[in-house]
Symmetry: C2
Subunit: 289 residues, 2 copies
């Protein structure tokens, strides 16, 4: 496992790979968990060269407190990665990624990013931050395939649109969300949940499953499904629901009627922790949970 | 000389080149002249594979009339290119480059683009248009070196900033402006000058040379040099001066005092034709004319 901090070294290394085998890339913000590890293992199995990056991207945070308290533990991350067969870990410095004079952003302008579904997420600033950093990382690492977890549906939608609109020659592999035994989606910020909050947090996945039960029972009306999900979440007073959204799984545009390809999304704040989750219905009994 | 219209074919072809030799790329808007030909010949001589693109980029035009009347003559362009040893000509369709749902722009936000030094140029819209199309073309063609002519200093400054800020692994080769015998910089739009306008147009280069004479005579005060240049241009009533600017040749930021690396820029409208030109002083008797 080789660690690269220097941007020029990463560029040179990636250039060398172009003549070699396929490169699989897992971009992360660190504080790694089993979900990240699953992505890294898939990249290693499916590609000849596997790379992960660790970079807490400041420009995708709307509030500086959220950036400041984002969990970081590099030695723990490197420990976890050393148990995988990852080839390279790229850990650029913030002052190199956004060096003096940096002034060019990648800007998603679709109207879906104009609406701010929850404080700190889904806004234009978040979309611009994600779009800019993924473009930069894809230029630095030049992978054939980038690996992302299904949990962060907004991030996936942004990356998919950027790759398509800027003609970046990279495939996207989206792997299912990894969950705790009670269904809570793994997430770096879960670390900050108190024990009562942690217990309450499982209501988010239970709400998604309540929505699923209705769809499985042939309910197709989004408003009815959303209401059932909301009614379940409000039984947990520690959970501050940000939104429930029933939408197209690629575009994230809200739909009135559930159809194959529809996603049920949920977002909430529990204490200081922002949690998101989603499941996708692919028709009949096919769900991505 | 292979002609590629299809975007996927370009992507596949470029991917194939990655394991091969160096790729030199000349992006153009067509209506080619000797300046373009010089770039193509350099790409052919210096790289193993040479590619030119022809694409009139609609999103960099602020006024639709200017886009509509931009000169086009594809058969003449292909005729000219066939006299070179170019390997591939990439001619994408507008509806493929900006397909339905396109919504991601590359946005230079430096304050220098907020000021609109002349109608139709230098604005944020122009900067965004150039930044977006060059990013897309560099992803599609994946060259090692991109070739640009010195004449369009704003374009060069934008491309340099984009490549730096987005970490695109491409070198830039800037070749000197190619001029008519009276000094007028070659340009696709020159085609639209009437005979009297064409004769008057040479005043722009003469104004640059008047500025040069002052620098060579040890004048360093930008205001004094600008005044001398303006005084010369106003002797030609057919020429509507947009601006004279004395600035840093990389950042295009105005400077009060001339020093090595300073650029003298000029822009004017003559009839319906917008003309730009520049020269750079590198110290002592070294000029890029």
């Amino acid at each position: 496992m080789r660690i690269i901090h220097n941007m020029d070294e990463m560029t040179e290394t990636a250039r060398g790979w172009l003549a070699g085998g396929t490169v699989g890339f897992v971009p992360t913000m660190g504080f790694l968990h089993q979900g990240h590890k699953t992505l890294v293992q898939a990249a290693h199995q499916e590609c000849e060269i596997s790379v992960a990056s660790i970079f807490v991207n400041p420009i995708q945070f709307e509030e500086s407190e959220d950036l400041i308290r984002y969990p970081r533990d590099l030695s723990r991350d490197l420990q976890l990665l050393s148990t995988t067969s990852i080839d390279v870990v790229f850990i650029p410095r913030t002052e190199d990624i956004y060096s003096a004079g940096f002034s060019t952003y990648v800007m998603p302008t679709s109207s879906q990013w104009a609406v701010q579904p929850a404080k700190g997420t889904g806004s234009r600033i978040y979309a611009r931050g994600v779009a800019t950093i993924i473009t930069k990382l894809l230029q630095l690492v030049r992978p054939d395939i980038a690996y992302l977890g299904q949990k962060n549906a907004q991030q996936i939608a942004i990356v998919r649109q950027v790759v398509r609109d800027l003609n970046i020659d990279v495939g996207l592999r989206i792997l299912p969300t990894v969950r705790e035994s009670d269904g809570l989606a793994l997430g770096s910020r879960n670390h900050f949940l108190t024990q009562p909050e942690r217990r309450a947090a499982s209501v988010l996945y239970r709400a998604l499953l309540a929505g699923k039960a209705l769809v499985d029972g042939n309910v197709r009306n989004s408003a009815e499904i959303e209401k059932a999900m909301i009614d379940l979440v409000v039984t947990e007073p520690l959970v501050n629901l940000d939104y429930v959204k029933i939408c197209h799984s690629d575009t994230l545009r809200a739909v009135d009627t559930v159809m194959p390809g529809t996603m049920l999304m949920i977002a909430a704040h529990i204490g200081i922790v922002h949690i998101i989750d989603n499941i996708i219905w692919h028709g009949d009994t096919n769900w991505l949970l």
